[in-house]
Amino acid sequence: MTITRVSPGVVKIERHAMTLSERAYLPQVVAGMFRTIKHLLKNLFNPKGLPIISYPEVKRVYSERFRGRHILTSREDGTTRCVACFMCSTACPAECITIEAGEDQRTREKFPQRYDIDLLRCIFCGYCVDACPEDAIYMTRDYEMAIDTRARAVVGLRDLVVPPNFPVGPMGWRPYYGAIEKHGTAGGTGIGQPLRDAPFEDSDPPNPDVYRGA
């Protein structure tokens, strides 16, 4: 295989005629075996260098803008920040958000009586987060959303609303402030990168009882 320049900006790849050792099958087969055995030995004696993450014991680190499952944040008094303005459901390209608005009798504020996201329709594009003018919907780094029935794919307020002062520091896709620095990690296959347990502790699920919108 030779590469020659035929004109400015164009190179031509000429295929080579097979040499004697190539025609004889065996030398190249042995050379190939040598190459793969080299990999085998390297991995055998240096298992830490393997590009493998032993899921689910070890979970990979995603960046702080990972677009995972959504949450609805709360104000300090425990009411949900969402004001049912329908911006997220309008911006949603997959039309997966259903909102029904209600009015708080005491404060005369709008709030969502129903807020459903169909996770099977959702394409996790983050447009809802970009559209929200109230800092109400975030995406987390939670990517483990296995379900056993289709009905469970539709998550409502019970699953979405998180308590006030919920730590949003290590959260995923959040509204972009312009000035805020967001560090990324390109963990890739995990070699030389820190690995940690699930970003969302399984023992600490969002508490549905905290929601006191009505």
């Binding site: 295989m1 900006g9 790849i13 295929r15 097979m18 309008t90 003018p133 000035a179």
Partner: protein, 594 residues
């Protein structure tokens, strides 16, 4: 004028959003003059010229279209030999509601031309299959989508929709929510046409002919493709392809969404190189708006495009090698691909389908370790590529599987409208990045690799070399560093204001609200823009009627023409050869069926 110019690098100079007048770019005069020249060269044939916003555009009477196409094709100096696209448009308000658009490219002069034929509902157009073989499938698609008949077409059946489908979905009066069920009874049997040289009467064979169905769910057809082959012994004597299994109505859905909402849909065209589709679509709409993304955004777009091109080639090469029995390479190549995808994830938050671009720039700035990670990947990539090259290129078993397999001649490749690595493997040095540079590709030092032969081996060689050239571009891009400044234009009619302003300023909140609810509203007009995708020219043709929904979005899928030529490539070969050559074409069903 924008009042949000505090972060501004590029002051807003484009049209105001309420402006329904077409935005006329500065290049229109030049392209119109060129159009007049072309019309003069054709001599006897009179063409009616229309002011195209991007390309020389002609209105052709349907009686003349074949003559005009042939004249453009055969003309010594014009030589519009490459059929790029053929598609329909529907304008129900007009007297002749349908418009069939032909787009041709001249490899010799590096220019494009657009022809439009207007027809009414009951009219038909003579078929152009005899001039451009590529238009066989394109005409079937136009018939399927709009119901425009093509007289003399050899096989005018539905292509993207199924047999039980009623009506023509891209017509404006067709309800986007309408669904049709395909039942077992509806599925038609495909009997491939036997190539003339294998005519039964002429040939003496001891074998009974067998028709073999390959796909749509078959491990060797990456994606849902169906190939029906008639075999004489082991030789394929005739083949036919059926597509449309992954048709998700991209074009119809685009018409029901806003401009910004189409971006996640374009991700899902060629899902192996999603960012490149984003770039193509966003730049088309930016051209309509008369804006340009900031330098920093363009630099990131270029880098991610090249990373995704490498990733696309990796998927193609690795999967192709698995098809022909070399599994190890898959493991070796998918490690760098994983790193590339992780890099995209660190920017956008999603791995395969980043939806990272926005019209006017990027969704957010890249993380501050972006260049360091990019450098780490670029440094390690040659090792992985070299490893695989060392394993296969000198191996006789591999050579014999791919040498002279799935050959397509240069003339056929051009006539079928090939672009990308498959065209370059026949010795034609056509690359959009060189021919009509965008994102500043002209400022980088790199080469277009070509190879001779047009067979599977040549396509392998071209892809390997292209990865090396992409690494060269990336290394230069990293060395130059990221330009400073914003990643989004400062134009409140296009870009969402920063969130802290939305929370704190009334005006920004109103702009935010207007942009989400009423969307971007480009001025009236049509625009075509092309980028070099992983497997050829990805073009987007967008028509705006001044509202928040695109009037028409047409994606030019590069592998549509390539897969169309597949029966021709495998006729006379065996099934294992067909598998080997199918993998090397890099057919992505998401893009093929849209």
């Amino acid at each position: 004028m924008s009042t949000l110019t505090k972060y501004s690098a590029i002051p807003y100079t484009g049209p105001a959003p309420t402006n329904r007048e077409p935005y006329v770019p500065a290049t229109v005069a030049a392209s119109d003059a060129r159009g007049q020249e072309i019309a003069a060269r054709l001599g006897t044939l009179t063409l009616e010229q229309e002011t195209g916003l991007d390309l020389p555009t002609f209105i052709v009477a349907k009686e003349n279209i074949i003559d005009v196409l042939r004249a453009l094709h055969d003309h010594k100096e014009l030589a519009f030999t490459l059929p790029l696209d053929l598609f329909g448009n529907d304008y129900p308000g007009r007297e002749k509601r349908f418009e069939i658009v032909y787009q041709l490219y001249s490899l010799q002069n590096n220019e494009r031309v657009r022809l439009k034929v207007r027809v009414g509902e009951d009219e038909s157009i003579p078929t152009s299959v005899n001039v451009f073989q590529a238009y066989d499938w394109y005409e079937r698609e136009a018939w399927d989508m709009y119901g425009v008949r093509f007289d003399g077409h050899p096989n005018l059946r539905r292509i993207l929709t199924h047999e039980n489908f009623q009506g023509h979905p891209l017509r404006k009066d067709y309800d986007a929510a309408q669904r049709w069920l395909l039942t077992d009874q509806g599925v038609s049997t495909i009997i491939p046409k036997v190539a003339p040289q294998y005519d039964e009467a002429l040939e003496e064979s001891d074998f009974e002919r067998v028709t073999l169905n390959l796909g749509p769910s078959h491990p060797a057809t990456h994606g849902t493709l169906r190939i029906v082959a008639t075999l004489d012994g082991e030789t394929i004597v005739g083949a036919d392809c059926e597509i449309g299994y992954l048709h998700r109505c991209f074009e119809k859905m685009s018409e029901t969404h806003t401009y910004q909402q189409v971006i996640p849909y374009t991700d899902r065209l060629n899902y192996c190189s999603a960012v490149i589709n984003n770039v193509g679509y966003c730049m088309t709409v930016e051209k309509m708006l008369g804006i340009e993304a900031p330098e920093r955004a363009q630099h990131v777009r270029l880098m991610l495009s090249e990373f995704y091109r490498i990733s696309d080639h990796i998927v193609c090469i690795a999967a192709n090698l698995v098809d022909i029995g070399a599994l190890t390479n898959y493991w070796y190549l998918f490690q760098p691909r994983e790193e590339i995808i992780a890099l995209a994830e660190s920017c956008s938050g999603a791995r395969l389908l980043p939806s990272y671009l926005r019209i006017g720039g990027l969704a957010v700035d890249v993380p501050d370790d972006f260049l360091a990670n990019a450098q780490r990947i670029v440094t390690s990539l040659p090792k992985f590529i070299g490893e695989v090259e060392g394993l296969i290129l000198k191996n006789r078993i591999f050579r014999e599987r791919v040498d002279g397999v799935g050959v397509i001649s240069r003339e056929d490749a051009i006539n079928f409208g090939f672009t990308g690595p498959c065209l370059r493997a026949t010795g034609v040095a056509y690359d959009v990045r060189k021919a009509s540079p965008y994102l500043g590709y002209e400022t980088y030092d790199w080469d277009v690799p070509i190879a001779e032969g047009g067979d599977t081996y040549a396509r392998f060689l071209v892809r390997f070399e292209e990865m090396r050239q992409s690494i060269r571009i990336l290394q230069q891009a990293i060395d130059r560093g990221l330009p400073g400044g914003p990643v989004m234009v400062d134009n409140p009619y296009v870009a969402l204001p920063p969130k802290e302003k939305v929370y704190n300023e009334m005006e920004s909140l109103i702009y935010h609200f207007k942009l989400i609810m009423h969307g971007i509203q480009p001025p009236v007009g049509e625009q075509y823009f092309q980028v070099e995708g992983g497997n050829g020219e990805v073009g987007f043709y967008v028509v705006s009627d001044g509202t928040k929904h695109p009037y028409r979005v047409r994606a030019r899928p590069p592998c549509f023409s390539i897969f169309e030529a597949f029966p021709k490539m495998i006729t006379g070969q065996t099934i294992p050869d067909a598998i080997a050559s199918l993998g090397s074409l890099n057919i992505i069903a998401g893009e093929l069926d849209r």
